[in-house]
């Protein structure tokens, strides 16, 4: 999702900016803008820094927290999982994450697997290895792509084989955003990219 920031950053006020960025999220997603007056007043009439701070603080305390808790700010696109071979008990899910407010993916779970974890495949000097990933930072306005040979959601102890045409369900937990429920279509085992 091309979610370019709409305004310039406020020097030294990144948390305020994050807060205001959160307020701009609903229109990006097609919903109504909550209290546009607050945002406009904050930017158009900053008569002095004190007024601005008060408005920003109010906006943060009153609006950002409930908005963040109720609806996710992180958007998930192009989710897919690779089909498993007969007898294979592990799988991988890939996706693209974007957010207008910097956040971190800190947890994954799936009803289709006994356990789900964030892993990173690393390749170097003709070697490959897989390591645990505690969190995946997602910078505001930038895409984070979970793709083959990189970060992926590893599904372990799959409860059923992953067959093309099915969907795998994954719940994503973030530092700030509400959690996101993802339905990832299963692609053939030979696939290396999401469905077109």
């Amino acid at each position: 999702m091309p979610s370019t920031p709409r305004r310039t950053l406020i020097p030294g006020g990144s948390s305020v900016d994050s807060c205001l960025a959160a307020l701009t999220l609903p229109p990006l997603r097609g919903g109504p803008l909550p209290l546009p007056q607050a945002r406009e007043r904050g930017f158009r009439q900053p008569s002095n820094s004190a007024t601005f701070s008060i408005i920003a603080a109010l906006a943060f305390s009153v609006l950002a927290a409930p908005a963040g808790a109720q609806q996710p700010t992180v958007a998930v696109h192009d989710a897919w999982a690779r089909a498993t071979a007969p007898g294979q008990t592990v799988g991988a899910v890939y996706m693209t994450l974007s957010t207008p407010v910097s956040d971190s993916l800190i947890g994954v779970s799936s009803p289709d697997a006994g356990a789900a974890m964030l892993h990173r495949t690393m390749k170097m000097n003709g070697m490959t290895g897989m390591s645990d990933v505690d969190s995946v930072p997602i910078q505001a306005g930038r895409k984070v792509i979970l793709a083959p040979n990189g970060i992926h959601v590893m599904l372990m102890d799959l409860k059923h084989p992953l067959m093309p045409g099915q969907t795998v369900e994954v719940d994503l937990t973030f530092s700030n955003s509400a959690s996101v429920h993802v339905k990832a279509p299963v692609q053939p085992i030979t696939a290396s990219a999401p469905p077109a």
Binding site: G87, Q88, V90, M130, S131, D132, H152, M156, T190, S192
Partner: protein
């Protein structure tokens, strides 16, 4: 006295001959030691539980990749890339080629598991396993690195070499290919090799 001179001459001649033989062999020895010897005879077990050796694949180009089925990301990506590369080869070339997927995790990869897994990538794919001792021997002859490391939650992953070995129809090592190559590039390399 004559006998003694004869013996001396014989020894001297022997030394000269030996020297010549060493001189003749030396370039080959140094050549052999500078070029890595990769691959060699092996006896492993296929998906049907049958014992197979390297000789069973004589007459075919052999691509070999070492991995394991509990690898959800790197291994299927490489195997599907190889499959996509084979799709780009002429049918005749494809028939002269076999892809051996050898496990580095024989504890979990039984013949049935590795066999079915490899076959899912195409008819040319053969999954092979064996006892840990036999797998270690193959890893050593191909200079494959494989090491277990623990993951959270009691599971484990294998770090392993991720290169594709190319062996010619006589069973000789030809080259290695980077498994990060795109299928089109992989296919081009295989065509250039005459595979």
């Amino acid at each position: 006295m004559a006998t003694r001179q004869g013996i001396v001459a014989l020894i001297a001649g022997g030394i000269v001959l030996l020297g010549l033989a060493v001189a003749a062999t030396l370039p080959r020895l140094t050549q052999a030691s500078s070029a890595p010897s990769i691959g060699g005879p092996f006896t492993l077990v296929d998906g049907a539980g049958h014992s197979v050796t390297d000789r069973d694949y004589r007459g075919k180009w052999r691509l070999m990749y070492f991995g394991y089925t509990h690898c959800p990301d790197a291994c299927p990506t490489t195997l599907s890339d190889i499959g996509a590369a084979l799709d780009k080869l002429p049918a005749a070339a494809r028939q002269k080629l076999v892809v051996l997927f050898v496990t580095v995790d024989p504890a979990r990869d039984t013949p049935q598991v590795i066999g079915a897994y490899a076959r899912a990538f195409g008819p040319e794919f053969v999954g092979l396993t064996a006892s840990q001792a036999a797998i270690t021997a193959v890893e050593q002859s191909f200079r494959v690195y494989a090491a277990r490391h623990e993951l959270k939650g009691g599971d484990y992953a294998m770090d392993h070499s991720s290169i594709i070995y190319v062996m010619d129809p006589d069973g000789h090592f030809v080259t290695v290919l980077d498994d990060s190559l795109k299928p089109a590039d992989l296919a081009q390399h295989l065509e250039q090799l005459g595979a």
